[in-house]
Symmetry: D2
Subunit: 131 residues, 4 copies
Amino acid sequence: MQTTGRTSKTELRVRWGETDAAGIVFYPNYYVWFDVATHELLRGRFERGFGFPIIESGAKFHAPLFPDDSITIESVVADVRTKAIRLEHTVRRGETLIATGFETRVFVKLLVGGIEATPLPDDLRNFLRGS
Amino acid sequence: MQTTGRTSKTELRVRWGETDAAGIVFYPNYYVWFDVATHELLRGRFERGFGFPIIESGAKFHAPLFPDDSITIESVVADVRTKAIRLEHTVRRGETLIATGFETRVFVKLLVGGIEATPLPDDLRNFLRGS
Amino acid sequence: MQTTGRTSKTELRVRWGETDAAGIVFYPNYYVWFDVATHELLRGRFERGFGFPIIESGAKFHAPLFPDDSITIESVVADVRTKAIRLEHTVRRGETLIATGFETRVFVKLLVGGIEATPLPDDLRNFLRGS
Amino acid sequence: MQTTGRTSKTELRVRWGETDAAGIVFYPNYYVWFDVATHELLRGRFERGFGFPIIESGAKFHAPLFPDDSITIESVVADVRTKAIRLEHTVRRGETLIATGFETRVFVKLLVGGIEATPLPDDLRNFLRGS
């Protein structure tokens, strides 16, 4: 049984422009970071002509972040299905839990004028499972 | 029994800069729009010194959006609790369902150096319930 | 002699997420709005397969903007050259001058794997000149 | 005579979300990076209660950037006036010149409900001059 798959760790510093007039990070930026973290995890792992568009995402926000805060995003491939994966992201500042979130993404072949969901190739599947 | 509360409708046109190299809207921008729609719904409804920070959000993406697409965001206050509300947002391009999402927000008093969750005042509660 | 060309007017409301921890609009967003205004002005005026990438921009910031401020961007095609145009943008909140800026953009044909600067077609040139 | 002042170097990787439907970086993001680079250069160099709001910026774009490109931003304090500074930024991908730009920023004291331009303190001035 597979409990968790491939992991990655992304370190960022909160940009001034990622905050809002409340003095804390504007929440859509957490999803920007999830996307950055997912690109870190997947970089170089599949061929041109394929993609991983998102079909669902979500996040819980536990504590605010301030300008210049240094954060770590731990990502894990929590589920590998035939044509889709679920990634889970945990944002921390030092030991403090800041936010948790997930992304569900479908593997697609890019066609002229569209996309088509397609099964994950074996090598990509194995990589995602961390095996 | 209250099933739905206050609603609002926000019309937007997809900005060129909201798309990404896949030619479609970069997904964190849906949350930017949810935030815009929530501000539309709440505008002028509570006093300075209070706020509605987010504690949870999520979205499902049904169909992509392209540059210049005209969209409508229908928002509804789906739940009104003592100190928190849940908003649900539906994004459509014409008749086409593009995305659905939600935000859970807590009502807070802004203090020096922090915030404190506080019960919704009656007039705000009534407004949110659409009554 | 041609002093000014085609104009357009774009109305926007400052989004909460466009501000930063100083409580005012984060300055790169002015360029986002310039781009929005330029798309307004050019919409539907040239064929697919062509584009107007930017080669220079600049702005002066006269007064800050706050969340929810309603603004007007007046844009004018200030110069039409063989293969390039200069747009000038003025941002106002009511009567108050907020910012001025410009963009220089080159007209290009999109090729496989690149772009090529190309002369403005006559109808586009006439439109840009406001004639 | 002082020709150049304090310098800094900022390394970034282009985020997927920083590109647009043309497949290249959406130009306002260069200003986001200039702001990041300026914060790098100024970090910890002045007290709370002061700020460096922008009054002018500009950029020339020489070559496009693509998703995942690794870039370096070299910044220099090109001018130190009584109450204002000019920073110049150069963006490169390896040896390739991508963009150049500048920011003019005023040193201000943050007051209740406003700001006031104020002379740079000596230690900050010396730091900025690179002396």
